[in-house]
Symmetry: C2
Subunit: 397 residues, 2 copies
């Protein structure tokens, strides 16, 4: 029997999906599970997106342009303009989800063995994409006490080696919900210029900025246009995760020309998703206002309720729909598994993501979990109550 | 300005798309172009597929399972059964097109620097996927004189080194249209067993086998179930290239478990496409009979007409909808560009794919082109006439 590649063997299993078999067993026992473990919003997809797909007059479902349907890319420029991001259709490569934008951007900028600095905790699949491309992640620790603010630039600088080719951030952050300030981005800019690095920014939660805080994009930074790459997705924006439409954007012509070669090899992004995405750009502001209001209410409830539980600390995030909470436990993986395997409160339990999967430094995040507040407040109430009761039982074991 | 990776620099530009700018210029001059350069069929997508997407009752367009919607995978097993391919839903990972099936299979089986033997000429994007994963293709030459039959096994054996991890074939073949016989597959089986290699088989043209010839799959080979990986796509089967739905299949549990980790990192294949693909499995046999009849008529016309042109030789393929023709020219790239740039016959010309892009050995295929007979016979007539007239002019230059 031939052996799989050592790369495949090293490929991390999804930290969230590791728990799925336990959740399935719990469900079979008739236990209701509140899923705060995954960023799958319950928000309805805008009718404009769904109707455009329904009404598409297709005879032959053809490949689209490898960089994405041209009318869609043109319209996207108008979308970005609202955020003071000035781009041209030729700066955009439409991808199969944000996932592919990350994969193509990594391959375009990094060779096997090259290093990328990423503040941790970070989106767990960055590990997978880096392993797939044989890129080495150099994590830089951010801390729950500061709400996961950008680590001091001196700390970044300590990690820079001749192999360092870039820095990646997620803003607003998954899993932290942290929203980087203009000042933080400016400090990154200095570093990027000093060492001539790529700056990759995953900004898929742009629509989810709260408390009147300003969203700042790496695309706003002047003088590093050839260094910056924006990674984006419509999955969260329009609650359209299944459309699998994202994009990568750069003003660096060489980056886009090279990325296009990877895009051409895989032919094209999905046609139906692009048709929906193009129509969704006309989604009225009222839709987002409603969604934002709902998330703010959910966040306010969850953060408040979590911090009332003895021994729990959870900073209030300004963006996205995640938070990281520190719990009075010693092993988040075991605890999250126990919640599904051995615990229920009135036949209900909660599924959380152990934060260990979001750290790349071994041993970090062992007393932290990520919660995605993607459920109705009524459900969140029950979920947090389950967590509270669970902690009481768990710590008496 | 930071430098792109040397991997990106090495990434081959699509040999077909290199000509696109010349085609655009020709179009602007009012010249009608017959596109025989790309495998985008003009056949209508089955109504079942399109209607399923139209009628899908979606409120929240969610991620699907990373391995694909379960009901779809179940139904796929029934589809494969028709071809005497016995698989279980857990053997299948639904992918974003056949492209992603190839990418994931390569990463699962090959480390950077590992070697894969592929009969050439081969589907040009195998080059791109191998470059993206730092895998080395060892081409093995097949010849137009034998219609691109499988090279002798001794020739394969000469290429095997300690780095050889697998062999990849395309059956029925793109770009050759060659249909491997059971005997040819059996001889590959012996080699695969002897050196414990992976055998990857791209069988996306399964529906397009002509002249009553039997389709033989690597999945039919007994005793190498742990070595074989089937790569598939619905793009050609249902003329649904834009759905971006494919799959990889293996009985090797370790391969599938590892491939699933790559699949989980990118979350899920497109939901709309999967809904359509699931419904399309019920496409009546009459649809395929009609399509096949049409392709046979096109093939018969094209092959006959090509072989009537002085100095042209084109073997008759038994599958897919491509053929490779040898032309009385010395540089197919220059000739194909010239057809667009400097030639027209009654304001019409033809776009072909230079075969050089399908060979990985430098210098091979310089007097060959690939034609995709994906147009109506009326158009094919005009296209071949253009080619005939063009060759007259070109060789008098």
């Amino acid at each position: 029997m031939p052996k799989i590649s050592s790369k495949a063997a090293k490929m991390p299993a999804s930290p969230i999906r590791k728990l799925v078999p336990f959740a399935e067993t719990a469900k079979k026992k008739g236990i209701k599970i509140y899923h705060l473990n995954i960023g799958q919003p319950d928000i309805e997809t805008p009718a404009s997106l769904l109707n455009a797909v329904k009404n598409a007059d297709i005879k032959v479902l053809e490949y689209s342009h490898s960089a994405g349907i041209e009318s869609y890319r043109k319209k996207l420029c108008g979308y970005y303009k609202q955020y003071a991001i000035d781009v041209d259709p030729s700066d955009i490569i439409v991808t199969t989800g944000g996932s592919e934008a990350i994969q193509i951007a990594l391959m375009t900028c990094f060779n096997p063995g090259d290093e990328i600095i990423i503040p941790e905790p970070f989106y767990a699949n960055y590990n997978g994409f880096s392993t797939a491309s044989d890129i080495v992640i150099k994590p830089i620790r951010s801390y729950i006490e500061s709400g996961f603010a950008l680590p001091p630039i001196e700390e970044f600088e300590k990690l820079i080696t001749p192999k360092t080719k870039g820095i990646m951030i997620c803003n607003p952050g998954n899993p932290t919900g942290y929203l980087y300030s203009e000042q933080e981005l400016e400090s990154l800019k200095e570093l990027v210029l000093k060492y001539d690095l790529f700056l990759l920014s995953d900004e898929v939660y742009r629509e989810f900025c709260y408390d009147g805080k300003e969203y700042a994009s790496v695309m706003h930074l002047k003088g590093i246009e050839n260094n910056t790459i924006l990674l984006d997705s419509i999955s969260k924006r329009y609650s359209a995760c299944g459309a699998r439409i994202g994009c990568m954007i750069s003003k660096n012509k060489e980056v886009i020309a090279s990325a296009l070669k990877f895009a051409q090899a895989r032919l094209s992004p999905p046609t139906f998703g692009q048709i929906g995405a193009e129509a969704a750009i006309d989604t009225p502001a009222s839709y987002f206002e409603g969604v934002k209001k709902e998330y703010v209410a959910r966040r306010d409830f969850v953060i408040d309720a979590l911090n009332k539980i003895p021994g729990v600390f959870c900073p209030k995030p300004s963006g996205a729909f995640y938070c990281i909470a520190r719990l009075p436990i010693d092993d988040a993986d075991k605890f999250c598994q126990w919640l599904l395997e051995d615990f229920n409160y009135n036949n209900q339990t909660v599924m959380l993501a152990p934060a260990t999967g979001f750290y790349s430094t071994p041993g970090e995040g062992k007393n932290e979990v990520r919660l995605a507040y993607v459920l109705k407040i009524e459900d969140l109430k029950n979920a947090v109550l389950c967590l509270e009761k669970a902690l009481e039982v768990y710590n008496k074991k």
